[in-house]
């Protein structure tokens, strides 16, 4: 294996050099607890303030609306459970979609076991929530709508502004899981009528273990972690100063470079999609062709299974991911691929390639060239392909 080609940026990204450099002084030089009184702590307190502003600015939020957390999953759990608790008197109905991340879906399942009713909206064949279905799902006791900004598997960008408008018209809280979208595509909490938004540092070249929940001023949700007055009494625990500083820096970099990054990634993504669809037979693109994250491409190759592809790619130094059952540890393939209407055997043959601006066209070409052979090799040993070929022979 000569060189690694990293194409799993939706799983996590490499921390940017500038981000790491910004973080380092807060481990050994300015390690003071920002909650402390003495002057030594002022340095780290000020760094947190700067990072909070950087984080807020990227989505048009106020600094006091940003609450740092341990990551996207915590933010999602907090948003849903706390909203359910705070607004449970008003109603017990929550609306979400079938293609949310498990941090949302499993939290919804938990709330269902605690007296809440959840409507899981269908999506169309490209993974978009149907606005008419959303409107019909709204009831007098609906307290929360939670729909992700962009899907982590198939990259489809949801009509967040429209959903936010509908939520606002009905006086319902709107939360969006923007873990894949924040730092990658433009988002604006006011223009999109977002009341709560989850994000995670390591998905946009920041460090792992840090995220935030945006909570619009006036939304009365309570603390999720108890034990301290940090984060305006809403999230106890000593602030992860290096993490916060790193995420802030990553947000600032995204602010500056987003347009250029999107342009580069989109060019590579479209080249990848065009080549695969034209060169590998029985392949399909999952997710919306146009409204999709610039760095996401997700394919299904009929008659082959996802994990097998991943292992063969890994042997060439290529890191990618799949929604096959074998990679999820359960027997069912990705709930997202099933929700867009794919049959099980096709859903098992999915491959997600998620780019960063660090990737190159040469890498993309290398992967497509190799993938073609990998799919051929696996089809030669596939009983499904054998049946397909025989059926075709019989027909002709």
């Amino acid at each position: 294996m000569s060189k690694r080609i990293y194409l799993d940026n939706a799983a996590t990204t490499r921390t940017a050099d500038e981000v790491l450099a910004e973080m380092l002084p807060y481990f050994q030089e300015n390690y003071g607890n920002p909650s402390a009184v003495y002057g030594f702590a002022a340095e780290s307190k000020q760094a947190v303030d700067v990072a909070r502003k950087q984080t807020a600015d990227l989505i048009g939020a106020k600094t006091e609306e940003i609450y740092f957390t341990g990551g996207g999953s915590e933010s999602d759990n907090w948003a849903l459970k706390a909203a359910a608790e705070a607004y449970g008197d008003k109603g017990k109905h929550i609306i979400t979609s079938k293609i949310e991340h498990h941090a949302i879906l499993h939290t919804c399942a938990y709330l269902e076991r605690h007296g809440f009713e959840v409507t899981y909206l269908n999506v169309d064949e490209n993974g978009k929530v149907l606005l008419d279905e959303l409107k019909e799902a709204i009831r007098p006791d609906t307290i929360l709508i939670s729909v992700m900004a962009a899907n982590n598997e198939i990259g489809t960008i949801q009509p967040i502004a429209e959903i936010g408008k509908i939520a606002k018209e009905h006086g319902i809280l709107f939360h969006t899981d923007a873990v894949q979208a924040y730092g990658h595509i433009p988002l604006h909490v006011d223009e999109m009528n977002i009341d709560m938004l989850s994000a995670s540092g390591h998905k946009f070249y920041g460090p792992k273990g840090i995220g935030f929940l945006y909570i619009r001023k006036g939304v009365k949700i309570r603390s999720f972690l108890h034990g301290g007055a940090q984060e305006r009494n809403r999230r106890a625990g000593t602030l992860n100063v290096p993490g916060i500083v790193g995420m802030g820096k990553a947000a600032a970099l995204a602010q500056k470079a987003m347009t250029e990054r999107m342009r580069k990634e989109t060019a590579m993504r479209d080249h990848l999609i065009d080549r695969i669809l034209s060169e590998i037979p029985y392949s399909r693109l999952n997710g919306d062709r146009k409204d999709r994250l610039p760095n996401n491409a997700n394919f299904c190759f009929r008659f082959v299974e996802g994990e097998s592809m991943l292992i063969l790619l890994d042997q060439l130094g290529v890191c990618a991911s799949s929604g096959s059952a074998c990679t999820s540890g359960s027997l069912d393939p990705s709930h997202v691929l099933l929700a867009i209407g794919l049959p099980h055997e096709i859903a098992h043959g999915s491959l997600r390639i998620s780019l960063s601006e660090q990737n190159t066209m040469e890498e993309i070409d290398f992967v497509v060239d190799e993938l073609s052979g990998i799919v051929q090799k696996l089809r030669r040993m596939s009983p499904l392909y054998e049946d397909f070929v025989k059926q075709n022979q019989e027909r002709s």
Partner: protein, 147 residues
Amino acid sequence: MGMYSEKVMDHFSNPRNVGEIENPSGVGTVGNAKCGDIMRMYLDINSEGVIQDVKFKTFGCGAAVATSSMATELVKGKTVRQALEVTNQAVMEALDGLPPVKVHCSLLAEEAIHAALWDYAQKNNIEIEGLEEPVNDISEKEEEEEY
């Protein structure tokens, strides 16, 4: 991938006995598309009841391919009776183990051998002691995960 033993990786990367047998003595297909693993095993059995040749095709993960490959190695040259004794445990041991989530793949390999032998018995109108009609859908045995 770090999750598999060297032997699993070897059998996955260079699977033995991939292919089909024309006019096989027995052929069996097990698994289903829902769970993501389908194995087909072809057997060529001579008049003495010895498995002269065996081929497989598998749609599935690395472990599924490797267990199929190892299973064909273990039954090749064996009598029908000996082949029946090739259990999923034997396949796993021969592969130096499998991660816990992949144990069902080795069950599928055992099932595939049994299904092919069942087909052979049906075609020849014989009864093989200890051989039961194969269950096609092994996923029914799996339990739903609670979260």
